[in-house]
Assembly symmetry: C2
């Protein structure tokens, strides 16, 4: 999933994402609920219509942004109170409120509100985050919006929360537990005992060094049921994705391809390159012969470098298109390698990227 | 002509300009010669190949930017000395150097180096600017690059500078004279007596109030021969373009559609609108039913407003695509109105825009 924080994947339009072959994208409940507001997006018929995106959308719960962006946050068993980073206004986010907002956005996949402790944290902090996450898990599920089979929505408290109700808002549960195998096991057992539509490994992201991330993914991924989507949140580098797929993960979101693009960093099969580096000044060809994509192939490395040096907005756009194309190809090649049994050669192909 | 100052029309790619139906674009000799440098672009085979633009390109002479952007400029009969606004390096621009640089860029239309006095200026200043412009006119022509009929270029001093030599760098002459009809007449007589490939009215741009610009265009445009392109530099608003076409002008360049877009201003048949205005917050439709274009029609006014309010780069791009589409349609409708004799109804249609 490319990340479309504010209802837009930075610098590119929905037509670009379609051309790149993306289907599922991620957007952020925290940002959208503050601006332009969930009520406005609901009034437009949901986020798909608001941003003109026909494919599926997943939203996070807002919890991660509350922890990393908002001010004066305070966590209780009831929920999280915080002040908006935009205007200082006070808000209170609960599992019920998060699921309700995601319902207003009419997204295809909602994420349960959890508590994601910052890295590094003590074992006690990881255990407390897990405790609250577990406390909130059933409240997320209970807040799901049920559909009446037609266009309208109903939320009858009398409807049973059975496995796979045919027409309710999809909600994924999140496993916490930090770097502690016993906590992860406890969390996976508890979370997967609930009727979520998919399961995520939370609290493992690009902020953590690879040597911490890999062992956690390695023991946490196999704890998730194989008959539902398994999603590793916020990961990652191409080699991190390959490692995680090898452990059983199915889904990813990451800001790296788009954020790195705006910082002049382009993904290639020869590694990540600095597009504004002097070595490209006279290079009348691509940054990497093995990473040439339709969206940007008409432009030389020298031209894109010139755009970056000149501070032109087109630079960020072309770099974003390049990186998103690189990641789209990576994911397609992963699917192909699984289908055709060519995993070892794929690992070899991407060992530098 | 959309303006591509640094070898890029801000926020859009060559593929976007092609889709919008543009053919001729403008780029700036001053900017390109400082960064990335004319030698580099020549090494790439010219600006077309460097920026991947297959259509024709016109470059200005660099004189206007030297006057408005560079530091420590000093004009003599020989040329203009100045310091780069980028790094303070010293440069000396002459008619010969300007034409040489434009030859290195391999553009389709080069503009003669002239002296464009700032507005407002005294009659003496306008007369002196005209005198230097006239002094330099033949030097621009003499510096033209001649082609040998093949891929290579030759500059044989023995070749005669006759009317319409079949294979030389195209150069347009520029008429000066400020707001003074007698000076404009004198300048037009002198400049058009030379074998330029087209003629421009200089020193009339968006910086001037309409009440000054219109009379000048009205008496200056008919002074130019009708068998060669007549170009009004730096104009302008849609109504200014319509007025000038009515006076006989054929060609325009202007930063307004792209610059205004980045300042949230969108052109519509109902006038220019502020895309970030509160009135669009809940508007699930276009800014103007009469100004809906393929490049942006999938996005509502409310969504584009949201992008502007959220500081998203996509906002500037969509607004630029909108404005460029508006101007492309304006120019197409002007051509149609001339061909089909429907000029009065066209003036009526655009009276607010």
């Amino acid at each position: 999933m490319p990340v479309g924080t504010q209802g837009t994947v930075k610098t590119v339009g929905s037509e670009d994402l379609e051309a790149l072959g993306y289907s599922l994208i991620l957007s952020n409940t925290y940002h959208l609920s503050l601006r332009p507001g969930a009520d406005l997006i609901e009034q437009f018929g949901g986020l798909h219509k608001f941003m003109s995106w026909k494919g599926p959308i997943l939203t996070d719960s807002g919890g991660y942004q509350v922890m990393s962006l908002a001010h004066m946050r305070k966590i209780t068993e009831e929920g999280v109170s915080f002040k908006s980073h935009l205007d200082g206004s006070e808000h209170f986010l609960t599992p019920e409120r998060s699921i309700q907002i995601q319902g207003q956005l009419s997204v295809d996949i909602s994420m349960a509100l959890d508590v994601c402790p910052p890295y590094p944290c003590t074992r006690d902090e990881a255990a407390e985050a897990m405790r609250l996450t577990h406390l909130w898990a059933p409240r997320n599920l209970a807040a799901r919006r049920f559909f009446d089979g037609g266009e309208g929505h109903v939320s009858p408290p009398s409807l049973p929360s059975t496995d796979s109700p045919p027409s309710s808002q999809a909600v994924f549960g999140i496993v916490q537990g930090g770097v502690h195998e016993d906590l992860r096991r406890e969390s996976a057992e508890y979370i997967t005992s609930h009727s979520f539509d998919g399961f995520a490994v939370g609290g493992v992201s690009v902020g953590e060094p690879t040597e911490m991330q890999y062992p956690v993914v390695k023991f946490a991924a196999p704890l998730l049921p194989t008959d539902k989507p398994r999603y590793l949140m916020g990961v990652g580098h191409p080699q991190d994705i390959l490692h995680a797929v090898g452990c059983g993960i199915d889904m990813f979101d990451c800001v790296l391809p788009t954020r790195m693009a705006r910082h002049h960093a382009l993904y290639t099969l020869k590694g990540r390159v600095n597009a504004s580096g002097k070595k490209w000044a006279e290079h009348d060809g691509p940054f990497d012969e093995g990473s040439v994509f339709p969206a940007t192939e008409r432009y030389s490395a020298a031209y894109i470098r010139h755009l970056f040096k000149a501070g032109e907005a087109l630079a960020g756009r072309l770099a974003t298109l390049h990186n998103l194309a690189f990641y789209a190809r990576l994911m397609q090649e992963i699917r192909d390698a699984i289908e055709f049994g060519s995993w070892p050669s794929l690992m070899e192909r991407y060992k530098l990227a």
